[in-house]
């Protein structure tokens, strides 16, 4: 795994595919939600229109350098996360930049965007943005815990931190997936997954109506457009990690789209039937339910 210039083009291709996939998938998910509620729902291309509109806004303001850089950090975090993880197993084209680092890089890079966003939101000077950040950070400490334990468990199980190797170990049969070889770890990881997807019941961070929408309160125009892009990219990138670690990865784009969509729908389905937790409730929830499962996972390996 070494670097070649052509990989930049491949990575751009991956990025292009995933952004489009994400734009459409999130719209589809919203549409499904609308249909369940008896509505017609948004057009599937609505995300594109919103994106164009936001880029096309004429007046913009800036609260300062960090405010300006916040969305840049955010989107860099999303793109980087996507590109540091091999997207399609076995494909030379879609290994992206995974030569730079292993699973640990991916796990810690998740925080890159969060940090930049938090700083940008902080500089906007809006108290509600700060409250949103406070809530988000507080919640994520507990929510990420089961994932950390699950990752520890499976890296012990496969004796590697290399994502490609982990995926390779799950090939062959559906029963080689971590989901079946180590269901406890998978369950633990799914706690974290549901907890960090910003969907009900764990969406108190952006809680509209209460603290308008938390950190992005002051963001608009192209800033918001970048964040929207990230909003469709980042969950997919995250799902890719889960897919690679627990669900056998994907060997082609079709498998990719089905798996990503299915995993994504887990959080959606849980979200639509649960009311929102307050922060301390969700912390307690993760410590009470997620943590024991995670501990069980590392003890059982």
């Amino acid at each position: 795994m070494t670097f070649e210039w052509i990989q930049i083009a491949y990575a751009a291709l991956t990025l292009f595919i995933v952004i489009n996939y994400g734009l459409i998938m999130t719209a589809v998910v919203r549409k499904i939600g609308a249909r369940v509620g008896g509505r017609y729902g948004i057009p599937v291309w609505q995300n594109y229109i919103d994106l164009v509109k936001n880029f096309a806004l004429r007046s913009k303001i800036s609260h300062g350098v960090m405010f300006y850089l916040g969305p840049v950090f955010r989107l860099t975090g999303g793109i980087g996360l996507l590109l540091f993880v091999p997207t399609i197993y076995g494909s030379v084209m879609f290994q992206n930049f995974s030569f730079a680092g292993d699973l640990i890089l991916a796990l810690y890079f998740i925080f890159f965007g969060t940090l930049g966003m938090a700083l940008g939101a902080g500089e906007s000077g809006h108290p509600l943005a700060a409250i949103g950040v406070s809530r988000g950070l507080a919640q994520v400490t507990a929510a990420e815990l089961p994932l950390a334990l699950a990752v520890f468990a499976i890296s012990l199980q496969y004796q590697t931190l290399n994502i490609t190797e982990i995926v390779a170990a799950q090939q062959g049969s559906i029963f080689n997936w971590t989901l079946f070889t180590n269901p406890v770890a998978t369950v633990a990881a799914m706690f974290a997954f549901v907890g960090t997807m910003m969907r009900s019941p764990f969406d108190v961070v952006i809680a509209p109506q209460e603290i308008p929408i938390g950190p992005p309160t002051e963001y608009h125009s192209a800033y918001l457009a970048l964040m929207q892009t990230n909003r469709v990219l980042f969950p997919v990138a995250k799902v890719v990690i889960y897919m690679n670690l627990f669900f056998g990865g994907a060997t082609n784009w079709a498998e990719f789209s089905i798996k990503v969509f299915s995993i994504y729908m887990v959080s959606v389905l849980i979200g639509v039937v649960h009311p929102r937790f307050r922060v301390e409730q969700s912390i307690r929830f993760f410590l009470k339910w997620g943590l024991p499962v995670g501990v069980l996972a590392i003890l059982m390996v």
């Binding site: 509620g37 164009v52 806004l57 004429r58 109506q209």
Partner: protein
């Protein structure tokens, strides 16, 4: 009906002093130095609004206008009783989302300000602030007869009667109250306007900024904000 009492003259003499928190003050810096703070100057951006040119290429501008028309983000700000008529739009029966309409909780992310019903002077102040904080291009819709000519509040001592004196209204929807269907029809009309490139309320506001400001200040006697709220 009471006749107009010709003898009544409103008080035009009394001036309202600037609010305490906006008055210039002297504070002591940590190193003991006394420094002057003028809150309006120091804490608020003083720039006037800009008139934004359209794109050089018409086709680009048309494309943008198409996108703007199909992505109307409404500021969730109910000024009067008309706000109650907006809620049904989110329900399956009317489902405004299918037209690309959605509600945003912050003016920074909204393009459309719906003045839903009567505006008291106090609310007008907030509406102006919210409007000015929206990024352009932005649109204003007057909902209900109160915004048009005062409606049933035509003789109220505290309610404005002609919204377009104070904000550049793109569209009025008459009625007391207009039904949600009327609102939807209004949105469709607005879309058409925008697509035709006529949704330039923000530029109009910037061009006639002084006029609007004078009108606003003539009814808001305790003007306690910067001239333009960025």
């Amino acid at each position: 009906m009471k006749d107009v009492d010709k003898s009544f003259r409103k008080d035009t003499e009394t001036e309202i002093p600037l609010r305490e928190e906006l008055q210039p003050r002297t504070v002591t810096a940590p190193d003991g130095q006394k420094i002057e703070i003028d809150p309006l100057q120091d804490y608020f951006c003083q720039e006037p609004p800009k008139v934004h040119k359209q794109s050089y290429l018409k086709i680009v501008e048309d494309f943008y206008n198409w996108a703007r028309a199909n992505s109307l983000w409404i500021l969730g700000f109910g000024t009067g009783c008309g706000a109650i008529e907006m809620r049904p739009l989110m329900t399956p029966r009317f489902d405004a989302y299918r037209y690309g309409i959605q509600w945003r909780p912050t003016p920074r992310q909204a393009n459309l300000l719906v003045i839903s019903g009567y505006l008291s002077v106090k609310t007008l102040k907030r509406a102006i602030r919210a409007y000015e904080q929206m990024p352009s291009p932005k649109y204003v819709m007057g909902l209900g007869s109160c915004t048009i000519n005062g409606g049933m509040y035509w003789d109220s001592y505290n309610t404005i009667k002609k919204l377009d004196e104070y904000l550049p209204v793109d569209l009025y929807i008459a009625g007391c109250m207009p039904r949600p269907e009327a609102l939807l029809a209004g949105f469709m009309e607005l879309k058409k306007k925008i697509r035709k490139g006529e949704g330039e309320g923000a530029n109009k506001y910037a061009e006639n900024f002084d006029w609007y400001k004078a009108n606003q200040k003539s009814v808001i006697k305790d003007w306690d904000m910067p001239d333009y709220n960025w």
